[in-house]
């Protein structure tokens, strides 16, 4: 039995009266590639945002490597509005900012690409190394961290070679074609030295050929960096091709989980995607 890396426990995320994620439970083990799928508006990105600390859940907890990193219970206005289950089970409040979670070893990409626009490809990756540098502002300003800086630059060059962006390293990030920008986002996340990589629709807007390349690429980086990968995706070819397990969300609720083969034959999943025909 491999080690449990991420555990989402009874997480509910409610915005006012709207329940975006409803009592979500999922687990990801070391070395797995796990996909989270579901129709538009099912709450997938919201779930990501809870795990990465962008949103504080209304109720529930998130564990990373056996350590509780996020916990919350309905407070303030939400106390009376809370509609989910497991109310009263969580009493603590643990709400680290996203940067702290990233430092624990959990890095992400964004659905709508969020690169640093005025920076070169090289700098985009190098900046992500900032959270791993040990220098303080004084030692960095007066260049007492030369060794570390050189090591970081070398590592960034290596990363860029791996993702195939080395030849464009001095271009502006925004001048790259779409597919390469997606790759750059992945390279940037890798530079933060994560153990768990979260990919939010990495193949969005890609053509079938690019998607196939990306599928191979994700498998490759998983092996090379000994990563665990959690991804949201709509391209079923990609999802079915590389996932070890799949979770399916619909209207914030988990409706199925299992291997790709199990999911493909699950009636509830088919209904959720295609809609249930009326009896009439």
């Amino acid at each position: 039995m491999s080690k449990n890396v991420l555990k989402v426990e009874n997480v509910t995320m409610q915005f006012g009266g709207v329940v975006a994620v409803d009592n979500l439970n999922l687990e990801i083990n070391e070395g797995e590639i796990v996909a989270l799928i579901g129709p538009n508006g099912a709450g997938k990105t919201t779930a990501f945002n809870v795990v990465t600390g962008v949103y504080q859940p209304t109720n529930g907890a998130v564990w990373f490597n056996g350590e509780k990193i996020v916990e919350n219970h309905p407070q303030g206005k939400m106390k009376s509005m809370y509609k989910g289950e497991h109310a009263g089970e969580y009493t603590g409040v643990l709400a680290p900012t996203p940067d702290k979670i990233t430092k624990l070893g959990l890095a992400r990409t964004f659905q709508n690409i969020r690169l640093w626009k005025s920076q070169t490809v090289f700098n985009n990756v190098l900046i992500a190394k900032h959270c791993r540098s040990t220098s303080n502002v004084f030692s960095a300003t007066f260049r007492m961290n030369r060794k570390e800086e050189a090591a970081q630059r070398a590592h960034v060059e290596e990363l860029l070679k791996i993702v195939g962006l080395y030849d464009v390293k001095d271009e502006l990030a925004t001048s790259l074609p779409y597919g390469k920008q997606r790759r750059l986002e992945i390279a940037r996340a890798l530079a933060a030295e994560p153990q768990l990589l979260l990919l939010d629709e990495p193949a969005a807007g890609m053509n079938p050929q690019e998607t196939d390349e990306l599928t191979a690429f994700i498998g490759e980086i998983r092996d090379r960096f000994k990563l665990t990968i959690f991804l949201i995706e709509h391209h079923m070819n990609l999802v079915m091709g590389i996932s070890d397990r799949i979770y399916v969300l619909d209207f914030g609720k988990l409706i199925a989980e299992g291997t790709p083969a199990e999911i493909q034959n699950n009636q509830r999943v088919i209904d959720a995607y295609l809609g249930v025909a009326d009896d009439a």
Binding site: W116, S118, Q119, I127
Partner: protein, 369 residues
Amino acid sequence: MTMKKKKTIFTAVVLAVLLAACVAVDLTLPSYHIAVTVIKKATVYALVAVSMNLLNGFTGLFSLGQAGFMLLGAYAYGVLTIPVAKRASVYQYFDGGAIQFSLPEIFAGFLGDTVGSTVGMLLALLVGGLLAALMAYLIGLPVLRLKSDYLAIATLGFAEILRAFFQWNALGPITNGSNLLKSYPTFAHATPYVILAGLMIAVILLLITSTYGRAFRAIRDDEVAAEAMGINLARHKRMAFIISSFFAGIGGGMMAMYMGTIAAAPFKSTLTYEILLIVVIGGIGSITGSVLASFLYIFSSEWLLRGLDSGKFLGINSPIFKNGFRMVVLSVIIMCIVLFFRKGIMGDKELPDLLDRRSRKRKKEAAGK
């Protein structure tokens, strides 16, 4: 020769020439000459503009509190350096004031007159910078959580509060209330200003090109992405704010030196606006631009366009050339830059990048042939 080497040599040569020119001005012209005044004022503005650029241009925090931090630096400098013998006359309404020592005099006591008083003056500047930094830390706690324009107005408001405090009579034994601080030592020549401001700007430049500077720019470009990549927003914003204020404080101290007297009145929001506009003219995100724009701005307002105010300009006499006309012309030019040349003189390029453009052009031409 590699490009990098070329750039270093180019930069070094330009800087050396500028420094030599400044020394030459000092050696040949009397210290009251307009050229000396322009250099002094422009270097002070350059330092403050660069410090503002660090915050507004590189970190993307639109702060308008610069005048407040300069005020702190200026007062700290004045209060700590007025000779003890002259305190009775300066603080005539407050029984000679509460502070009865002077840093330059203390250091002159055991380091000799010239060295000692210089050390004391520099130390007073440093104290001013540290005070400004401390104040930035305190107000940064609540204010830095605010978004762009709210941050601007909150910092602007803070600067106004500070100004009110310095004019408060109850603080008179230290700040001299609404009266002037004067008779403190200053540098007569322009070179010390240039060297001092140059060193400070060099430090800011080193910061900007360090890993922290890159993190600041990441915050400017996309806060959400920066946070997701492990950059602690609160900590880095506070850091940028404190560092920028530190240098604004030192700039304020130098401004006090240049002006010869200190009152709270000149440190109004208009001063902040002026510096912000200089940053814009130079190019938001370019240190070279800020320095260049400071010199251009001060040179034209203090010297070149003087004639517009006194009735004769470029040999033309006209009744419209009367007091205030040069500032009108200058602000129209500024508006044109703001509206039509939004990148300013340098965009986000620096001095060494000037070589880049030319060599790239040359390459293109070569390829075209």
